[in-house]
């Protein structure tokens, strides 16, 4: 699992970095072309930057789940005993897993919906952009599943 952990993390990290630097590059291109070459920036730059942004966010989402970046309110949680907290953690992970399982399944349907649409400026099939939703939900689902296994193991100990 450790080897897999490294590979999947690297995959998501590279995806995030490519998306992030793609976003920076296209926005800079937008500024430079508008200020120095044409009155209006090419319309495809805005669309491309949005695509890069959504992909960067989608790749980073799984990493955010893995490293617990999501904000929650733990005022009441802290008042519970250790055993209750442990059970609650499992319930939270399980229900979140169900949520992202549904989201992953329907993301596939969403991608198929995008095959008949093209983006206005780049002319790309929208399914390419919609794949980001599968990456987002799939990677969160993956880390939630690992988290659930670890929590169940800890409970059985």
């Amino acid at each position: 699992m450790k080897e897999n952990g490294r590979i999947d993390q690297k995959f998501l990290e590279w995806g995030t970095l490519i998306g992030a630097f793609g976003l920076i590059f296209t926005v800079v291109l937008q500024i430079v072309t508008r200020r120095f070459f044409t009155e209006q920036a090419p319309s495809w730059t805005e669309e491309a930057s949005r695509f890069f942004f959504i992909y960067a966010i989608s790749f980073a989402a799984g990493l955010a789940q893995k490293e617990d970046y999501f904000v929650s309110m733990d005022y009441f949680y802290r008042k519970f005993g250790h055993r209750v907290r442990q059970s609650l953690d499992i319930a939270i992970t399980f229900l979140s897993l169900v949520l992202f399982l549904v989201m992953s399944i329907y993301s596939v349907q969403f991608i198929l919906l995008g095959t008949v649409e093209t983006s206005p400026s780049l002319g790309l099939p929208m399914s390419i952009a919609f794949i980001s939703m599968l990456i987002m939900s799939g990677s969160i689902l993956y880390y939630l599943a690992i988290q659930l296994i670890l929590q169940l193991k800890a409970l059985s100990k």
């Binding site: 980073a60 990493l63 999501f70 987002m136």
Partner: protein, 424 residues
Amino acid sequence: MILLLILVFVICLFLRFPIAYSIAISCLLYIVIKDIPLIVLPLKMYSGIDVFVLLSIPGFILAGNLMNHGGITEKIIDFSNHIFGHVRGGLSLANIGASMLFAGISGTAVSDTASIGSVMIPAMQKEGYKADYACAVTAASSTVGPIIPPSVPMIIAATLTGLSVGKLFLAGALPGLLLGLGFILVALLLAKNQPHKKQKRSSVLEILKGIFDTFWALLMTFIILFGIIGGYFTPTEASIVAVLYAAFIGLFVYRKLSLKALPAIVLDSFKTSASLMILVGFSNLLGWILVTERLPLLISEGLLGITTNKILILIFINLILLVVGTFMETIAALLILFPVLLNVAVTVGIDPIQFAVVAVLNLIIGLTTPPVGVCLFVASSIGKISIDQVSRAGFPFLLVSLFVLILVTYIPQISLLLPGLFFD
């Protein structure tokens, strides 16, 4: 049906589900019961984050992180110490001053508490200040961050309503300064109860060096603000210019940043942004459900049915936002409540720009309001004392925040003066 959705959401929230997932799980239940096609889940998530202005959020977060890693926090604190260190309560004033300067870089209160607090709280304790006071000053002053531009909550408010980001940034500047000045006054009054040592007066040369060191950080705020106001950049473009600027300053001027460290900083910024965007996406789904159920209209009619008096409506809205802000994360509360309450505010003749400032101010006050103010938690964990101690010591600062809130609520010019000067 909508009551069930709200109930599930509140239960999930209190049981420590991440806020974004609490929203999504309650929405999922609603969608299943109402037999709505489940494809709406990825569809609303995608349409929620496919908004050009939102691209500026990772940009501003990344620029702030780059500046922070480039050593700007220490330089800002040093500069504030040179200016205030020799007066009574000098370090607490330096703490507030540093937060006001740092506000122009980070845009979020919690990161301000963590960055400034990790340096200032131990330093204040070392100089003899009580730990609870040091933590309280840090937590309170960091709330200036989301008001002074650039401000992540203001970008979210703009995205939700189509208001100009530039106008909202400017609208927050004066209230932010008022808040900072109010904190300075309280710190001066409380200083005589603190058994601290005064620092030696800095030389003119040290102050000049401090000005030079912090100049580059201040320049970033001006580039962002005047780039947007002057029509040179869109907010998204301004955020990317800020990223390039911060990287350049960190690499070649302060020389504390290395190329090797860049990927980790970018990754950290995008993980933070991803957690925010997922919240935005699921809130878009919730917003769609609420509109389908005509809830904004019902709330609007309900409130206006009680009174149409502008002052009473503002009191009522302030109370709702203050209570919600105490328990809920700023961005999440803004996403859920702002569009609904804006409708009411505009109906009774409140300017939407002023209302955005009032709403953000209310919600950030919640960050230092017991029992669950996030900034109180962060500060208390740095100072290694209980949150109750910080809350008690922070009470005078909380009163200042509420006083500024009253001023901003009932004197529209405080938030509308600058946007009026530069835009209209």
